[in-house]
Amino acid sequence: MSGFSRLQPDVQPGLIDPGYRSTGLRGPKAPLIRIPHGLGETSGPRFGAGWVGPQDADLTQNGRCNGEPLGERIIVTGRVLDEYGRPVRDTMVEVWQANAAGRYIHKSDQHAAPLDPNFRGSGRCVTDGEGRYRFLTIKPGAYPWRNHPNAWRPNHIHFSLFGQGFASRLVTQMYFPGDPLLQLDPIHNSVPADARELLIARFDIEATEPEWALAYQFDIVLRGPDATPMEP
């Protein structure tokens, strides 16, 4: 059986990265052992449209307690594609993020910034027939971390995707254009320099909702069945 495409080493980070301190004791040191792709790798969880509720993709609604969440409303949308540009349909996209002040509701986040009682910061949606997903959310704030003195994470949204098989799973982060913290961030900089732009959303005036919310476009390319496309 034909397998999935392999990781592209020229775009992917390494497992031990001198700039990102936590990798030092957590990244494995022995070489990974390459295995062929069988059923366990080319099949995978297929959470589809039946697994999302009506407000799951609207983070401005799904955490409301007694009012609207604070911050700048934004639309985050894009297509999920395989490496041949084919849409990945009916696939689950999970997101989580900090609020506008740079605070996660996670119990272990100790950053001295306010929680927003009307913002949870997590959601999910399933791609449509063209591989498109769309979230309405609040632009996340930057926050400090302890990787090095005066370290701050750029604004980002965490993404988790399944794709077509267990081998196509992806966990990543989306960043915003023009963020001055990007060039200082060891996590973003763990990616080879000319591939870093792949993690930065594009401001998209066409996808904005006038008088309501600005929009950012973030297309995601997953590994998939490794078929050579037809060429003339």
């Binding site: 990244g27 059923l39 041949y84």
Partner: protein
């Protein structure tokens, strides 16, 4: 090859995933796609529990890892899209963070999968956490399947001295133990999938 799109690079899960991916397990008041209960009450197969801890290169317990399992049913078949269209079917997928259990274990309640394609029964595992820029793949094989493990083509790719890192001992009837070590002399085998 040149007309291929570039893949989206991987980034770390980070430390604050729990309310997004494992909310119910961590006591948040909203749901999650899957948890450590992989087998349903009506799932056919031998009931097992698989549990373990994750250790870093200094031997410290890792409290913020997330472990995912993808497995076949008792007949060696993986659930397909039709199975996922039925909320009450066996889905073969589990997800468990290590931060909610007092002993920082992951715990999966499931059934022993059937073998397939000449492979011994096993659980396919994705491990991810703060400090991993790419998620890792490993497998959990079962110590009481020695004959099947002997002929498993994936285990055969692993140097003999490291194979035992992939084979979970049966510590009591129905309970397997699978500890994961990120580094060191008994570093768990991770696969390039």
């Amino acid at each position: 090859m040149s007309n291929r799109l570039r893949q989206t690079p991987s980034q770390t899960l980070g430390p604050f995933f729990a309310y997004g991916l494992t909310a119910r397990q961590y006591g948040y008041d909203f749901d999650q796609l899957a948890d450590g209960r992989i087998a349903r009450d009506d799932t056919t197969g031998t009931r097992i529990q698989v549990t373990g801890q994750v250790f870093d290169g200094a031997g410290a317990l890792i409290e913020d890892a997330m472990v995912e399992v993808w497995q076949a049913d008792a007949d060696g078949r993986y659930p397909d899209a039709a199975a996922f269209a039925d909320r009450h079917a066996f889905h073969g997928f589990g997800r468990c963070g290590t931060g909610a259990d007092p002993a920082r274990r992951f715990v999966f309640d499931t059934i022993k999968p059937g073998g397939h394609d000449g492979q011994a029964p096993h659980l396919n595992v994705i491990l991810t956490m703060r400090g991993l820029l790419l998620h890792l793949f490993t497998r959990i094989y079962f110590a009481d399947e020695a004959a099947a493990n002997e002929t498993d083509p994936v285990l055969a790719l692993v140097p003999e001295a490291r194979r035992n890192t992939l084979i979970a001992p049966l510590v009591q009837p129905g309970l397997y133990r699978f500890d994961i070590r990120m580094q060191g002399d008994d570093e768990t085998v991770f696969f390039d999938v």
